[in-house]
């Protein structure tokens, strides 16, 4: 088992990349890997209480951990508008994950 960190910086309603990232994460998780999704920049909008947010909630139930960048959340005034399982973290946490995970992919 290896650790996969997926960093998402794109909004789910302007590009299909977030769907692709979620597919990759779910597939990797299904194969027994430790998967973390880290939302940065416009990627934090993926965790709003919307249809895509529901997909993230389902991914979380499958064991994918989800984090969001604090500045990206605050600058979009999304503190209280995200699905429940998203942990808001500062940039140092992302850096620690980048250095510690076996594989990192930035989208």
């Amino acid at each position: 088992m290896s650790g996969l960190l997926l960093v998402l910086s794109k909004d789910p309603y302007t590009t299909e990349i977030p769907d692709l990232v979620l597919d990759i994460g779910m597939d990797a998780k299904g194969k027994g890997n430790d998967v973390t999704l880290y939302l940065v920049e416009d990627g934090v909008t993926a965790a709003r209480k919307t249809e895509f947010g529901n997909k993230l909630a389902a991914a979380h139930k499958k064991g994918i951990k989800i984090y969001a960048d604090d500045k990206a959340v605050l600058s979009r005034s999304l503190e209280n508008k995200l699905i429940g399982w998203v942990e808001i973290k500062e940039i140092g946490t992302l850096l620690d994950f980048i250095m510690d995970y076996d594989r990192v992919a930035w989208f």
Partner: protein
């Protein structure tokens, strides 16, 4: 103990999205944690360090980026290379901010081999 080393490859130019700012924030965090940084500015990202930027509504990226590279003169180091084919194509080879070296993909290959982790922001 050997210092950890992170190589950040950027491919997008400044002011189009938050990518460069995210890179800078990661760089500050890396400095605090004692991680050596390598910036490889590739494709449109070679404009990041272009001198004399004067945006009206944003902080000048060149200054922010240049400060990180200059602070990298001390440990932990922060080096920056701009891809020569990319800078030549954009006419910015002679206008890179202080501390940025003109190099190529072989340099990126070496950094990738030396680094604990290499990420591409784009």
């Amino acid at each position: 103990m050997t210092e950890k080393q992170l190589t950040i490859v950027s491919i997008n130019g400044p002011y189009r999205d938050e990518g460069v700012f995210t890179m800078i924030r990661l760089a500050h965090a890396a400095k605090e944690k004692g991680i050596t940084l390598n910036f490889f500015n590739y494709l449109d990202a070679t404009v990041i360090a272009h001198r004399d930027q004067a945006p009206k509504e944003f902080p000048p990226i060149e200054t922010i980026f240049g400060n990180i590279v200059k602070k990298g003169l001390k440990k932990p180091k922060a080096d920056a290379i701009a891809c020569i084919k990319c800078t030549d194509a954009r006419g910015v080879t002679k206008y890179q901010t202080e501390g940025v070296i003109i190099g190529g993909l072989y340099d990126l290959g070496e950094w990738t081999a030396e680094s604990d982790k290499t990420i591409l922001i784009g």
